[in-house]
Symmetry: C2
Subunit: 355 residues, 2 copies
DNA sequence: ACAGCCGTAGCAAGCGCTTTCTATGCGGTA
DNA sequence: TACCGCATAGAAAGCGCTTGCTACGGCTGT
């Protein structure tokens, strides 16, 4: 059978309690004893029984990171950064203690899965949960989430939002890091307007997502401020945050409104699809049509022409969320921090053609 | 305090044993009783204590997925696919039972972290572990891995390799799905040769990785077969699997060997960097230089020109690995399956200029 | 010289669940 | 009518660990 604490204790000729204390390092143990125990652990190749330990201590070293789409670098970057801070192996400490198992859970954007993962994590008595990405704006789901999170919180789980606005009715949350989606969107549209564009199409994300709404609002704010707010509905197309959707939506947009001179996409992935659609129509970027994205994912700079977009410090935000989840960093005042979004002017936008 | 099994039992006026049996559905319970229990569970909002359950049952519902770089879609796609099969929430069953918590662990390509994650998973008595991506070829590390995996296996953990060749000395593994990296690499180089290229540069991945070696070998096989094998060392540059590395390596390559007419990159991400470098030098793709990648990640088709590459069925492989890990699919004969790689001819390759 | 401490180590009581074994009530059979 | 077996429920013994409390020397202080 597998080696237990008792086996180690027997070999080291101490009590199980002592072994436990050596392993946890939370109680004074004479160094000679400690050494003996450590050797026994080594000799027997002992591996702690996690469930037993969690049960007895009523805590676990699991930290959950919820993402909408693990195949999307937007989430991958944040999750990776968070995970590296949360430690798991090689967090630099070398010592146990900080050794948490950071696990990422892929909700696929489905509200049910989000809730179920939360239950699963609750079941495991997770030490912390990081929720990334935009939230669904369905009131029923939000309420359910609030309830769930409250329960998690008072079971001792730390909760951090990353790239997601604070959920109303949830003060159980340790901290919320929100991206300035609205501001970023405003700036990129202002940039287009400043270049001389007047007729600007918008390829939005899925409806009922905070991210979608905020970016769209920022865009429209800029349009309004420039007195360009008109038949917004007809130059806006919604769809999922993927390349295919950007392609289809842009084709649709171009057909519906052939006079647009610029297309703003909800994110870079969508923008890539938009570029493909523009070319498909035989139009050049940026000479005939400007295209802009959002997020500044790694591939965006390599697009041809390089994509004008809004840079979100995904890595930094993820890392900070990880630290907050670990209690290694003090939460921002009020528990909420807004993370800036910076305009990256590149080759995919230019003044419109003068017809 | 939190609700326990006993609380539910009391409310349903049955014994804890009965509640447990209802929840696990592995023992006959009169339906009237079952109903009463279920209602009590609902009323009290009971959530099973995972650690306690795992301890008593000596099994857990955790499944680990190890990846080298979670921010890289190559891994994200496989991990997402695996996770969706492993279930976690919404695996369609609706019922518990199949409800495993699939967690992805980011090793960052570090051997120590890989090992430590395995220990962590061993600690949690994980039900299964899926290892993705190429392996390190360091004998010491391989030996350590073999030992670790053997231990996991005989603690009852199912082990599946995905996109990684079987580790010698490990028969504890349920199955290994290996990509035909060599064949894919051979085909793409043959394609270039058929186009008329004679002087072909190769931007390889990090040394000591199986993936790197196999792709490089495939490439060289093709070169040799065409009688083009010469000073391979001078047209090969190694580096990490990232865009930056592709850029730097290609610049270096072009400086060292200005007469190459094609560059084969170790993967698509690297290829993107290579494209940037080629353009930086004022050369056109594919007129002046052809560029080829590997993997066919989603963005590759959107590159301009679209990237010629080798398609790896990442999603399918990940899903299959997930199923194997769950025991939902019977392992291939011998435990090893090689997954084909298909050449995707696109715009980034063309015949060389005739000088 | 004795009381009181401090530094260590052990005892033992759980943590909340699963599961074996036992008990009970019922219907069917002789 | 009495017996046996089946279907169902309960009792209780752990699973392997943590931790509050107790025990025990040797030191210090007066």
């Amino acid at each position: 059978m597998t080696v237990t604490l008792a086996d180690v204790a027997a070999r080291a000729r101490v009590s199980p309690a002592t072994v436990s204390r050596v392993l946890n390092g939370n109680y004074p143990v004479a160094s000679s004893t400690r050494e003996r125990v450590l050797r026994a652990v080594d000799d027997l190749d002992y591996v702690l029984n996690g469930p037993a330990s969690s049960l007895a201590a009523a805590t676990s070293d699991l930290v959950g990171i919820l993402v909408n789409d693990i195949a999307d670098p937007f989430f991958g970057i944040m999750a990776g950064a968070a995970q590296s801070e949360i430690g798991g192996p090689g967090d630099g400490s070398g010592r146990a203690g900080g050794e948490k198992l950071a696990v990422v859970c892929n909700t696929g954007g489905s509200p049910e899965r989000e809730l179920t993962y939360l239950t699963l994590l609750q079941r495991q008595r997770a030490a912390a949960v990081v929720l990334t990405g935009g939230a669904l704006e369905d009131p029923a789901h939000q309420a359910a989430m609030a309830v769930k999170l409250a329960k998690l919180a008072d079971a001792g789980t730390r909760i951090v939002f990353c790239g997601r606005p604070p959920l109303p009715g949830t003060d159980a949350v340790v901290a919320a890091l929100a991206f300035d989606n609205r501001g970023g969107a405003r700036r990129i549209t202002e940039h287009l307007i400043a270049l001389g564009h007047r007729r600007i199409g918008y390829v939005a994300g899925p409806v009922e997502r905070t991210t979608t709404r905020h970016r769209l609002e920022g865009h429209r704010e800029a349009m309004k401020a420039a007195g360009l707010y008109g038949d917004e509905e007809s130059v806006t197309v919604h769809g999922p945050y993927d390349r295919r959707s950007g392609y289809d939506a842009t084709l649709e947009l171009l057909r519906r409104e052939p006079d647009v001179t610029a297309v703003v996409a909800a994110n870079d992935t969508v923008a890539l699809g938009a570029c493909a659609a523009v070319r498909e129509r035989g139009l050049r970027i940026p000479e005939d049509i400007s295209v802009a994205g959002f997020d500044d994912l790694p591939f965006s700079v390599d697009a041809v022409p390089a994509l004008t977009t809004v840079r979100l410090p995904l890595f930094e935000a993820g890392a900070r969320a990880g630290r907050l989840a670990m209690g290694k960093e003090t939460p921002p005042p009020g528990g909420i921090a807004t993370i800036g979004a910076e305009l990256m002017e590149r080759g995919s936008t230019a003044p419109p053609r003068l017809d």
